[in-house]
Each structure stands twice: as C-alpha cells, then as structure tokens.
Amino acid sequence: MAAKEEMVAARLAGLTAGPGLSGPRAAARARLAAMGLPGRRDEYWRWTDPAALNAVTPAPATAAAEDEAPLFDALDRLKIVFVDGVFDAAASDDLALSGVEIARIADKIPGWAEALYGTLEAAGQDPVKRPFAALNTAQATDGVLIRVTAAAAKPINLIYVHKSELSDPILHHLVQLEPGAELTLLETGPAGARFNKVMEVDLAAGARFHHIRAQGPDSERRAVTHVFARVAEKALFKSFTVTVNGALTRNEAVIDIIGNDAVAHVAGAALGDGATGAFLHDDTVFVTHAGLRCESRQVFKKVLKHGAIGTFQGKILVKPGAQKTDGYQISQSLLLDDDSQFLAKPELEIYADDVKCSHGSTTGAIDETALFYLRSRGVPEEEAKGLLVLSFLADAIDEIEDAGLKEEIVARLETWLSRHRD
C-alpha cells in the first residue's frame, strides 16, 4: 500500500500544475492516490504495459521531420497552437469566434469551466479506474475552454507541435455546448514526447459535436488520451481518430448517454508499422446508455505489420430502463504479416430487455482473392494492397460526416500508406 502511494507521489513530484482550479485538482489528486498508478495486473492494462506512462520522466522521442503540409491547411478554421504543450500565441489565431467563447486555463478560467472541470473525469472513474485521467486533472498546465452557444462559425483546430525530445505535456480541454449549439473540433499533430490529454465534452439537449483527430506521424512518441462525454437528449456526439505511428498510444473514450433519443458514434482507424519503431495502439471505449431510444456505434479498424500491436477494449453498457437502445460495436484488424498482433475484448453489459445490441470482431490477413482480382486487372501489388487497406478502413472513415474533411483524411492516409510500403 505504501509503495502505491510512494509511486504516485514520485510521479507527481516533478510536475507543476497550471493555475487555479485548486478544488478539483485536489480532488483529482486524492482520487489518484486512492487508485494508484496502473500495472499489468489491472484488467484494463493486461495488454498494454503502462510502465512508460508511469515513468517519472518520459523516454526521449525525436520529432518527425516537418515534410508534410499541415493537415486541414486549406480549410477556414480557427487555429490554436501548442508547442510541446505550451500555448503559441503567435502561431495561433485570435481566440474570437462567433457563437463561441474561448479561454485557456493558463489565462483566465470562466465560471462555467470552474464548475465543469474534472466532473466528467471523476464520473468516468467508475467502474473502471483511469489513473492517467485523474493525474491529468490534477496536473494539467493548460488547456482550451470552449463554450458554444450557437452554431460555431467555423471549426476550431487544436494543433499540437512536437519539438523537444523530452517534452511531457499535460493538457486538459473543456467543451460545453449549450442547447442546440454546434461545433466541429479538429485536433492534429503529435504534441510531445509523452502527451497526456483529457477532454471533457458536455453536450446539452440537441447539441451537435463533431470531433476529428489525427495522431502522428512521430514514431517514438507516446500518448495517453481520454475523452469524457456527457450526451443529453437529442444531442449528437461524433468522434473519429486516425493514428499513424507511435510507440504507445492509448486512447480512451468514455461516453455517457444520459438523455433520450441521443446519438454517439466513436470511430478509429490506426496504421501501425513496426519497421519504423515499436507500435502499440490501444483503444479503450466505454459507452453507457441511460436514455431511451438512443443509438451508439463503435467502429475501430487497425492495419498492422512488422510486429505492430493493436488492442481494442470496448464496452456497451445498457443501464436498467434504457429501453429501445440500438448499440453496435465492431473491431477489426488486418494483419499484413505474421509478426503483428491484435488483442480484443469487445464487451456487452446489458440490463434492459427491449434493446438491440450487437458486436463483432474479426482478425485476418488481406483477402488474397481480392488482391488477385486487382492484380489480374493490372494494378501493381503495392497499389492493390493500398486500395484494399483503404477499403478495409472505409467503415471507420465514413463516420466523418463532412465530405471535405473526409477527403482530406483519406488523402493523408494515402500519403502515409505510400510511405509504409515494403
């Protein structure tokens, strides 16, 4: 027991928390002290070794050469840039947008943010402990606080730049959508050598939130991220993540559907090539249904080769009384060679009888017949494989509603795929 507390104390010792929020930060510190840091014996860490995240200092990670045009560059968007977790005012746009109030933790914390900060994270600790999220709430140095009162005039893009080999940023964002408000939030870039990020998303009735995130292409970086969302009546939550490279990426999504007739979709596409460094990608997703007639979808696809490891731990929890729930979950991996691994735990926990819930999980190699078909029509092998990989990922990518954004993600995936041909 004492060892557990010592580990937590040592982990926190080198960190300096950002300003304000002393109440929720102290509460989060207490939560973390009580649960301790995770180990391989914890059920939800059985396949992902948390040692690199537990370590007091991050392992050095070189930033990838900036030889790609920034994602979404042509799009009219509001940019908020963090370099190794530090706000870059010069590179960022003016934080003013019609229908939106934007602030930062390190600058000035509005009242609504004081009230929300840490609450969804705290609620999301039950029944599964998420120690790195509590650590984040306690220690975050900065973060963007976004309150949307109408339809946002344009998307907000959080851009994370990685420069320093030993950067260890901890950012905590809050997003609150008032009834009927709309926002598209983009997140791009590798952020740092070891990135810990929490985003709490509170959607009021009828609000619509689209989240599109691209992680990569740094190979040595590590990241542990959490999205905690509370979805009220008739609200829509949609989140899509594409991940390329990364020694360790743990993306947790904790979605609480509390209102009736709400919709929540979480999707992910990951490309892992062990030839450019270790690759471990872990999606841990919990969707809880408490409302009537709600719909949820989890669509996760991974393409793995050269010793890459992909894991998926997903759950649909239907609470008593959450009748007419339509819950769907699919996790699939394409193993491009014999060294890679896919580990999955797709769970259903259901306490209501009038529901339709299903999940599927498949793992296998590229379809030789399809490959042969393309080859016989003159498509070169590597190109044919690329096509099949993209078609494998299509179900996940289709979760992006905006055609323009989807196109840009597909184009970037094609570039990344072409870089990882054998």
Binding site: P320, F342, P346, L348, H359, S361, T363, G364
Partner: protein, 504 residues
C-alpha cells in the same frame, strides 16, 4: 399466475396441477440415509483423512497436501461478473458418505437399496437392463443399441459403476477415480494434473486437495467405446461440499461420448460444488462431453442453491484430436465454469456448444477458452444465454491464436436473450491473435423474445409460457442439436421448466 387461472372446459384438475408443479424443481427431495461425515472444516488432517478413507497410496496423499498448502495461500478470484457471497470454507463438510458404503459393495447387487432407489427416482436406474427408463420419450427408442454405462456419485463416494465387464471386454476402463488410483496407478500418475495443474486456480487447487471421488475413463488405442458413458452426481447431505474429479484419457484413434448429469435437494442454505474434469485426447482420438447441469438453483427468492465452481479442460495433445463440449446449464445459484480446449496437436479441433439459463436470482458466468497452439487448428463456439427474473448471465470466453498456430480458424457466435427488464445479459470475450494466417470471427447479439413470434404462437392458441418456451427452444436449437439424443429431450423440457414463472 397459474394459481388464479380458472379451469376451462376440457381441462381436468390433474392437468392444471401438473402444469403448476412443472415450475418447481423436480429433484429437490432428499434421501434419508445414515451418513458418515468427516469433521467440519478443512485442514491438513482433513486432507489426510480423505486420502485414508479412499485407502490411497502415499504419492496421492503427498500430491493432495502440496495442493492444500498452495490453496491456503490463494485468494478466491473476483473477476467474474458475479456477486459472490462470503464462503466460510471452515463451515462445511468436505467428506460425507452413506454408512452403507463404508464397506465397499463388491457388486451392484450389494448396494444399499435406498441408494439404488434414489437413482431410480432420478431416472438413472443402476441396473444394466433398464438404462433409459425415466427419460421422456425413451419408450419410443430402439433400446437395443443405446446402452449407457453409469458411474453414480453420491455425495463424496461412487456408489457403483454399471457395464464394467462389458466395457472391459473392449479394453475400456470405466470406474471411480478412487478405484483407478488403486488399480491403475500408472495411468493416473501419468495424466492426473497434467491438463488442470495443481496451481491452476483457487477452486481447482481446492479440488486437488480434497476431491473425494469421481470418474475415470481410459479408452485404448483404436477403440470406439461400445456405449455412451455417463456420470451422475447427486449431492444429498446438508452443509456438504462435493468435490469430484474426472479424468478421461482417449488414446490414439479412440472415441468416447461422455454424459454428465447432476442434481441436489432443495435447501435454504447454499452448498459448494468444486469439480475438476481433465480430458487427454491423443492423436486422431475424439471425445464428446455433454453436460446437463441441473443442480438446485435456489428458490424464487434466491435462497439456497448450489455454488458451482468448475474447472473443465480438454487437451488435444495429438494431431487431429477432437473435442466437443456441449453444456446445458439450467441449475445452480452461481455458475462459474469455462470448459476449455487446448488445441496443441496440428489440425486438432475444439467445439463448444452451450445453453445457459438463469432465472430468479441465479447468476451464471460461463464460457470457454480455445487456445490454438498447433497449425491448422479449428474451433467453434456457439453460446446461447437466456436471462429471466432477476438473474445475471455472462458469457466469458477466450480465443487465443499463438504465433505457431498458422492457418487456424475460430468462429464464435454468442447470443443472449432477455426475458423481463430486471435481468442482465453480458458478453465478455477476449480475442488474442498473434499470426496473420489465422482467421478469427466473433459475433454477438442481445435481444428480447421476439413479439411477432410470440404473437404467432398465441394466435394459434399456445399459452404464453409455452409460447416463450417454444421460442426459447428455437433460439437454442443449434446447441440442442449438438446433444446426444437422450440429453436433447431432457434439455428441451428443462429449458421450459427453468423459465417457468418468468413471464407475465
């Protein structure tokens, strides 16, 4: 609801009573018989006493003591989706045998008539000429080819084994494990604990220390066992745990089909059952293991019932070895059971077909593990879970494709059915794939009894409960079809009985 029902024209009182009685547990009666108990609680002395009662050689006692010493250091697992009550392991009897069994009867003719009557009443007559009586529909079956040999276990001891001589003619050894330890020590020593090691888990380790009896089967190379073998477990004594151990060895090219049944009296206090089944399957051999588990499930308020913690595992050691587990789990207050397949031999195959029904306050956490180690191995899982009342039913399974298990396949289908809004149905599969020539597919669905199907039945004059039973039987069809015939019929009616009172 049945009590209030008025008697309609053309329905006599007897029919109404029969229907009313259907919902109750049929095997809840008790045999009044003088018993001999070991003192309450567990200790090294108790382990020694059990070993002495079975007149065991030293190596067996040492093995038990080693297990006991490990067990003392272990903690009860808590990962299952079960609300486990505190179990006081010092507050139960680990050994109970009928006094009439102290001097072991030399043949079935010498067995205490009360014991024989018990099995007769359970529909398992221990007479070789009349094997299938009590099984519904048996009168319509041509019995000439359907003999089943039975090993009957009553609390801590095996009462008797039928057809031993006839089986011996074919070279098949079928006896109680206590007898095998004495008569065939070389086989027992070679295989015992090699599939489920002493260290396996809390309940298996406990079983290693205190198992009192169970069945032993050895089928020699190239032999097709001339009849189905079965073990019938009966718990009778109060506050007594049953810890039986079954060891089945199917040698090269051999085949055996094995059936297992279990029941216990209705009591207010819960009782512990912690069994281990080990199956060794060599090259080209095949074992079918079918269970109808009908331990007392506890009453409508969740009082009493059997806590069933069972470790069952089959090891396909040779190439092309094949195992098929079929289980119908309707009884027990708590079920914790994962019959598993180790597919070690190349081209070996494992299959798991399961129906788990939980009604009232029953809790079931059951499933399988398919561990693919050899090349070209195949496995198939079909699980049907049904929850009603306040019950919780969980499918928990593992499919693991090791790097060496090239070109292997798994297909898993888990379906859950919910009857009523106070129960729960859960699916917890683990999938680990470590090579890319293998293909793993997992599908699961959860739904409720289809209203259209119910309406269809009701419109044709089928009563509500009967209609539900019909729909549920349809839902379970794939598994029922995998059962041996006599079990399939019993299982079908059990499915209906287990769900009595869950509708309306």
């Amino acid at each position: 609801m049945t009590q209030e029902q008025e008697i309609r024209e053309g329905v006599d009182r007897e029919t109404v009573e029969t229907v009313q009685n259907m919902g109750s547990y049929k095997y809840g009666w008790e045999t009044e018989i003088e018993m001999e108990y070991a003192p309450k609680g567990i200790s090294e002395d108790i382990v020694r006493l059990i070993s002495a009662k079975n007149d065991e050689p030293d190596w067996m006692l040492d093995w038990r003591l080693e297990a006991y010493r490990r067990w003392v250091e272990m903690e009860m697992p808590d990962w299952a989706l079960l609300k486990l009550p505190e179990i006081d392991y010092q507050d139960l009897y680990y050994y109970a045998r009928p006094k009439s069994m102290v001097e072991k009867p030399k043949s079935l003719d010498e067995v205490d008539p009360k014991l024989l009557a018990t099995y007769e009443k359970l529909g398992i007559p221990l007479k070789e000429q009349l094997i299938l009586a009590g099984v519904e529909g048996a009168e319509n079956i041509d019995l000439s080819n359907r003999q089943v040999a039975v090993d009957a276990v009553f609390d801590s001891v095996s009462v008797g084994t039928t057809f031993k001589e006839k089986l011996a003619e074919a070279g098949v050894i079928f006896c109680s494990i206590s007898e095998a330890i004495k008569e065939h020590p070389e086989l027992v020593k070679q295989y015992l604990g090699t599939v489920v090691p002493q260290t396996d888990n809390f309940f298996a380790t406990l079983n290693c220390a205190v198992f009192s009896d169970g069945s032993f089967v050895y089928v020699p190379p190239g032999t097709r066992c001339p009849m189905e073998l079965s073990t019938y477990f009966r718990i009778n004594a109060e506050n007594t745990g049953q810890f039986e151990r079954t060891l089945i060895i199917c040698d090269k090219g051999a085949y055996v089909s094995y059936l297992e049944g279990c029941t216990a009296p209705k009591r207010d206090t819960a009782q512990l059952h912690a069994a281990v089944v080990e199956i060794v399957i060599l090259e080209d051999a095949e074992v079918k293991y079918s269970t109808v588990q009908n331990w007392f499930p506890g009453d409508e308020e969740g009082k009493g019932g059997i806590y069933n913690f069972v470790t069952k595992r089959a090891d396909c050691r040779g190439a092309r070895a094949k195992v098929m587990w079929t289980q119908v789990e309707t009884g027990s207050a708590i079920t914790w059971k994962y019959p598993s397949c180790i597919l070690r031999g190349d081209e070996s195959q494992g299959e798991f077909y399961s129906i788990a029904i939980a009604n009232n306050y029953q809790q079931a956490d059951t499933g399988t593990k398919m561990v693919h180690l050899g090349k070209n191995t195949r496995s198939r899982i079909v699980s049907k879970g049904i929850s009603a009342g306040q019950a919780q039913n969980t499918y928990r399974g593992l499919v693991s494709m090791h790097p060496r298990a090239k070109n292997s396949r798994n297909y898993t289908q888990c379906d859950s059915l919910l009857i009523g809004d106070k129960c729960g149905a859960h699916t917890v599969p683990y999938i680990e794939v470590k090579n890319n020539s293998s293909r793993v597919e997992h599908e699961a669905t959860t739904s409720k009894v289809d209203d259209d199907q119910l309406f269809y039945c009701r419109a044709r004059g089928v009563g509500e409960e009967e209609a539900v039973a019909l729909v549920v039987n349809g839902f379970c069809r794939e598994v029922l079809q995998a059962l041996p015939m006599e079990f399939a019929m019993e299982a079908q009616s059990l499915v209906a009985i287990s769900l009595e009172g869950s509708v309306g």
